[in-house]
């Protein structure tokens, strides 16, 4: 979707604000939210792409106003309710529904070291056809899906060069909507900054974007 999350090339956002000696979490609730996010993901009711899309669905003004972990809080409540792990009433009351059974968490203390290793999204065993090869000139498709996509707005319709084939990976555009992994080849594509931004860019600058096979077309 053409949401406010798709920020590459936007202007007017101001200077980068740095913080000296920044802590990992600015307050304990941020750490709890980070951990809750990992722990509820272990239920495997949704996937990483659906999780990213849920953040994209936060209304634009809220998205820009909220801190990072506030967005996670909002996203996680939506996911928990949508996928039936809690009800809206339970969120509002803060209490389990009367008479509801207690579940067994899939991630317990002993499972944490293994859980720190993220699942792989590579699907080398899947059958897929590589339509492009390294060195080939390609164009990023001009497409504007209303759902989730990882094809940034600023690259659409632009010409670049495939520099590497990463192998076969889960396709986020379908996976985010539970329409299957539909694995396809993923490439690193190099775009000249001048192709993306015009004469104002340095002719020595390049942007490399990872793109799935179906994001690309032949030139």
């Amino acid at each position: 979707m053409n949401g406010v999350h798709d920020m590459g090339g936007m202007q007017g956002m101001g200077p980068v604000q740095r913080e000296q000696n920044e802590p990992v979490f600015h307050s304990p609730w941020e750490g709890r939210m980070y951990a809750i996010n990992r722990a509820i993901g272990a239920w495997r009711k949704w996937n990483i792409d659906a999780g990213r899309h849920e953040i994209e669905l936060i209304p634009p003004a809220d998205y820009l106003r909220m801190s990072y972990y506030e967005k996670w809080l909002t996203r996680n409540i939506e996911l928990l309710v949508k996928h039936g792990l809690v009800t809206r009433e339970e969120i509002d009351s803060g209490k389990p529904a009367p008479g509801s059974a207690k579940a067994a968490p899939p991630l317990t203390l002993n499972g944490v070291p293994a859980a720190l290793i993220r699942g792989s999204y590579m699907r080398p065993e899947a059958s897929a056809k590589a339509r492009f090869k390294s060195g080939q000139h390609v164009r990023a498709r001009n497409m504007n899906p209303v759902g989730h996509t990882r094809l940034p707005h600023y690259a659409r319709g632009k010409a670049g060069t495939v520099i590497r084939n990463h192998g076969i990976f889960v396709f986020p555009d379908t996976n985010a909507h539970f329409l299957g992994e539909q694995p396809q080849y993923l490439y690193s594509v190099r775009f000249a900054a001048r192709e993306l931004w015009g004469e104002q860019a340095s002719r020595r600058d390049f942007v490399f974007i990872d793109m799935w096979d179906s994001y690309l077309e032949r030139i």
Binding site: G9, G31, R32, V170, L196, S202
Partner: protein, 210 residues
């Protein structure tokens, strides 16, 4: 249900309760329902506060500066080379290491969200996830680096890596001049998080704090 706290026509602008309180309420609900194990949450927080962070990446970088064979392995098969140093978490990642030279400078961003190589750098700083960095790194990389104090010569090629997929990028900075006699540990202490994102270079006086 109009109260004095908010204007009738702008209910959606009501400031929500403190996220800290809402998070606390959510955690206790999830614990009571058996959805999460609080001890697992403690261990996850501890892992990122105390174990997994940019010191891991700094050790990887320093090793490449003293061990040419390791450098080769890291560039060829990054996941396995990083795991050699005991950072097993990288094995779930599809890492790509991009090398800075006198003529090429690399910069990593995620314009769409906040993708970042957790096992080697830990969790990203707020600025990396912020709108100014995500919007500008691709259109004005030299301007962004200037704000970090790095002025690149015109003839240096800038390569910006937008992490749109599950590939995770680590910048391998150049070894600074004047460190020829330094030990691996001394070198690791020089390597900053920001140098492995690519917004700064490593200098013999930089210190590895940020």
């Amino acid at each position: 249900m109009h109260t004095q706290d908010h204007e009738p026509d702008h209910d959606h602008q009501v400031v929500p309760p403190d996220p800290a309180l809402r998070t606390k309420a959510l955690e206790s609900l999830l614990v009571e329902k058996g959805i999460v194990d609080p001890k697992a949450l403690d261990a996850l927080v501890d892992a990122y506060e105390n174990k997994i962070g940019p010191r891991n990446g700094a050790r990887v970088v320093a090793r490449t500066w003293v061990d040419a064979a390791y450098r080769k392995r890291l560039l060829a098969v990054p996941g396995a080379a990083i795991a050699e140093l005991g950072y097993e978490e990288t094995q779930g990642e599809h890492m790509v290491v991009v090398e800075n030279t006198a003529k090429v400078h690399n910069l990593v961003v995620c314009t769409l969200c906040s993708c970042y190589p957790w096992p080697v750098l830990g969790l990203p700083p707020v600025w990396y996830k912020s709108a100014p960095y995500r919007s500008r790194a691709v259109i004005d990389p030299r301007g962004v680096m200037r704000e970090f104090g790095l002025e690149l010569a015109e003839d240096v090629e800038v390569r910006v890596w937008d992490s749109t997929a599950e590939i995770r990028y680590l910048v391998l900075p150049e070894r600074p001049a004047g460190t020829e006699t330094w030990t691996e540990e001394e070198l690791a202490a020089l390597v900053s998080r920001d140098s492995m994102i690519g917004v700064v270079k490593v200098s013999a006086t930089s210190g590895g704090k940020a």
